[in-house]
């Protein structure tokens, strides 16, 4: 008897490892390279049972596939599913020296069947026992609601393991227009030269960045000028002359850069279909198109108005009438090139410059222009004052997410004036729990804001592969390491995309949404908790605040908007699909 037990005990690990060489995890539980779940998302366990996912049409559902073959043996992975489209990505485990942990994020697209060995020869993780893959399943709009069965198959060491795959396609269709647009910001193109040293076609690369964010239900911004007003040549038409002779000399580079983005052809052959980009920065700044040398003189107005008028005419002739062209100032006086803050204005007396630019724009643009012009400001310290003082001047507000929580009256006021409200912040780090990327989107939706800006989303650091700093400024990665001369997505970007799909579904049935239930499911809060009420900070003018005061005032707010755990959005998704998904 004891000998039999002993034998069973000895055999058990072997049997377990054989059975567990193919497992899966829902998207919010990210795997580590050793068969477990990353600390930020745990606890949890990979599953050996059938993969079951539900989703609306014209959208994605996703999961992680975990492969744990014998070390050193080749494996081959494939997946099959009739009627729906599958995309497989190999997950890169980034080493974070500060935490001595590996987190998966970058996703390398692979063709099926995919063969490799463990440990992954490129990722080079000692004792790696599991390779993870991200599986995206695209449900076309035309798919018939119902159950779709398929399988994931692993061949390794002469044996085959199979995971059944079942997708419940719901009758609902994810609305094409995003209720909250995740925006991904960047500055200039110098970083492209660093990340793609061998790339010769700048515009192809820029368009690839727009495309990857568009395909992930987001948008991409590239600011084309520096703090001193220097404009990189591809971001503005070329000018000539001075004073009354200043005019546009050439549109060549501008049109090559923006033409396919503004008429939508850059997005041909994407799942979402060709559409013009919804927003774009203008190159206008205090030094372009008018020289600051003439500021406060008639020459400034003449140069500004004449060139902007030519731009309006060009955009109209090109029929670029679906994109919002943003007048936006990014400079700050602390960077010493201009005497006022265009960005995050700190001192109220600087508002007069916005008023003057509003006047110049009105003078330059015909009242009946079919081109959409917006005047945007990114606001923090003095937002309450700016919301009131700059009424009729600014019509696109991008507000610091935390500070906006102090002013519960603001979104209603802004919406009532027909203006746009977005919020801004940073991407979460990979070592935050996987639902962290959904927090700002949910908050924007609760606040009635229609976008959220990741202030920098394309800068993964000098060595994101082996010396990763966490990805607080990147949601995509250069694919060059893998022979892909364009960006590749990260897991956080995928989770964000799927969250936007859910928000779109939610918005479609917003009258039926129980907001209290929604926030309760997310993190046990009430919608009202997401505002910072009666803060003592507001008893003093913003010019007297400092960052420590603000930190203190928003301490509780930061906790309130934090997802309770990695499953926070999964619980919301189940609620969304219950009330908005329809039948399978």
């Amino acid at each position: 008897m004891s000998a039999r037990i002993l034998l069973s005990l000895l055999l058990m690990p072997l049997l377990a490892s054989a059975a567990a060489d193919l497992r899966w995890l829902p998207e919010h539980l990210r795997p580590d390279p050793f068969g477990g779940i990353v600390r930020a998302d745990g606890p949890g366990q990979a599953r050996e049972t059938r993969i079951e996912l539900s989703g609306a049409r014209d959208g994605y559902v996703s999961c992680h596939i975990l492969v744990s073959p014998q070390a050193g043996r080749q494996f081959t992975l494939t997946a099959e599913l009739q009627g729906l489209e599958l995309e497989l990505f190999r997950e890169w485990f980034h080493f974070m020296p500060s935490r001595k942990e590996w987190y998966p994020d970058a996703l390398i697209p692979v063709k099926m069947p995919y063969s490799s060995v463990l440990p992954d020869p490129e990722n080079k993780i000692e004792n790696q026992r599991t390779q993870a893959f991200w599986l995206d399943i695209w449900i076309p709009k035309e798919a018939k609601p119902g159950v779709y069965d398929g399988k994931v198959v692993l061949r390794a060491s002469g044996r085959t393991s199979t995971l059944p795959l079942r997708i419940r396609v719901l009758s609902a269709i994810v609305p094409a227009d995003d209720v909250v647009i995740p925006d991904h910001n960047s500055y200039g193109t110098f970083w492209l030269n660093a990340q793609y040293p061998k790339s010769e076609d700048l515009f192809r690369l820029i368009h690839a960045y727009h495309r990857i964010f568009y395909e992930h239900r987001g948008t991409f911004h590239q600011l084309g000028y520096g703090h001193g007003g220097k404009v990189a040549p591809e971001f503005a038409p070329e000018l000539t002359g001075s004073g009354r002779t200043r005019r546009i000399k050439s549109w060549d580079l501008y049109d090559r850069h923006y033409g396919p983005l503004l008429d939508g052809t850059a997005f041909a052959n994407t799942r979402r279909g060709p559409r013009p980009i919804p927003f774009v920065y203008l190159p206008i700044n205090p030094e372009w198109p008018a020289s600051f040398l003439w500021w406060n003189e008639k020459g400034y107005e003449t140069e500004f108005v004449n060139v902007v008028r030519e731009m309006e005419q060009h955009f109209r002739e090109k029929n670029w009438t679906q994109t919002r062209f943003e007048l936006f100032f990014n400079h700050k006086k602390r960077y010493k090139a201009f005497p006022w803050d265009g960005d995050e204005t700190r001192f109220p007396e600087d508002n007069r410059y916005f008023v003057e630019y509003g006047r110049l724009m009105k003078k330059a643009i015909p009242a009946d222009s079919p081109v959409k012009w917006v005047f945007r400001t990114d606001t923090s310290w003095t937002m309450a004052q700016q919301f009131k003082e700059l009424e009729g001047v600014i019509n696109f507000w991008v507000a610091g997410s935390g500070m906006l929580s102090l002013y519960d009256w603001a979104p209603k006021l802004i919406r009532s004036r027909g203006e746009i409200l977005w919020t801004y912040g940073s991407p979460p780090r990979v070592n935050d729990n996987s639902a962290a990327i959904t927090s700002e989107l949910l908050k924007a939706w609760l606040y009635g804001a229609s976008g959220f800006v990741h202030w920098l989303a394309v800068s993964p650091g000098d060595d994101p592969w082996f010396q990763f700093t966490g990805g607080a400024t990147a949601l995509v990665y250069p694919g060059t390491r893998f022979g892909i001369n364009e960006p590749i997505p990260g897991i956080r970007l995928k989770i964000q995309r799927n969250c936007v799909q859910d928000l779109n579904l939610l918005e479609a049935v917003k009258d039926r949404v129980d907001r209290e239930e929604l926030t309760r499911l997310y993190n046990g809060t009430k919608p009202n908790d997401w505002w910072t009420r009666n803060s003592p900070l507001l008893n003093r003018p913003p010019q007297d605040w400092n960052n420590a005061d603000i930190g203190d005032a928003l301490k509780d707010h930061r906790k309130v908007q934090r997802p309770k755990d990695a499953s926070a959005w999964q619980r919301v998704r189940e609620y969304v699909l219950k009330i908005a998904g329809g039948e399978a």
Binding site: G188, F190, G226, G228, F292, Y335, R346, E349
Partner: protein, 188 residues
């Protein structure tokens, strides 16, 4: 073959050196004019008392306190900024003229007060509100004489004193140019 290569190299080096010398001379001319044209009294009025008060303060709870309180008197700033732009136009294309002022209360430090469109400098550390006084700048402030600096590869700067109505040297200008211009540089 080797001799031909050497000759080509020598010609290139000679052209580069002659271009460098010519540019340095042109910048020096601008710097000479700048010392006369930039009004030191107005420069002294640029920084607001509030900004000056916070400039050297270290707040352990707020590392951005000095930057967040940095402010300028607009009229003085604009007047000098316009002069600097004009001076830049006197030089070869893509010349910037920056104004540097000593930090009140700490002679060991200096601050760039006004920069220009190309955002180029051999001395400024990006984002620094103020920084240690480089010996070259100290020399100009002390002697009142212009100085040409070619420390950073591809850059030429000429530093020139700025004086007020009492004849005191109260700041300096950096007339600066890159030998090879980078159209994408500093668009960030």
């Amino acid at each position: 073959m080797k001799a031909r290569l050497l000759l080509t190299f020598w010609i290139c080096a000679a052209c580069y050196a002659s271009g460098q010398t010519k540019t340095a001379e042109e910048l020096d001319q601008v710097a000479r004019v700048a010392s006369v044209m930039v009004d030191g009294d107005v420069c002294e009025r640029i920084l607001t008392p509030r900004a000056a008060q916070h400039l050297l303060k270290v707040d352990p709870r707020d590392q951005w306190a000095a930057s967040d309180n940095f402010d300028v008197n607009h009229d003085a700033y604009i007047q000098i900024k316009k002069t600097l732009i004009r001076l830049g136009r006197l030089g070869p294309p893509h010349t910037d003229v920056n104004l540097w002022m000593p930090v009140p209360g700490d002679p060991s430090r200096i601050q760039v007060m006004i920069r220009n469109v190309n955002e180029i400098s051999q001395f400024w550390t990006w984002g620094d509100l103020h920084q240690p006084m480089p010996p070259e700048m100290k020399e100009v402030l002390t002697t009142g004489k212009r100085k040409t600096v070619m420390q950073k590869p591809n850059f030429i700067s000429v530093l020139a004193p700025v004086s007020n109505s009492l004849g005191d040297v109260v700041g300096l200008v950096e007339v600066v140019k890159q030998l090879v211009d980078d159209p994408h540089g500093n668009v960030k």
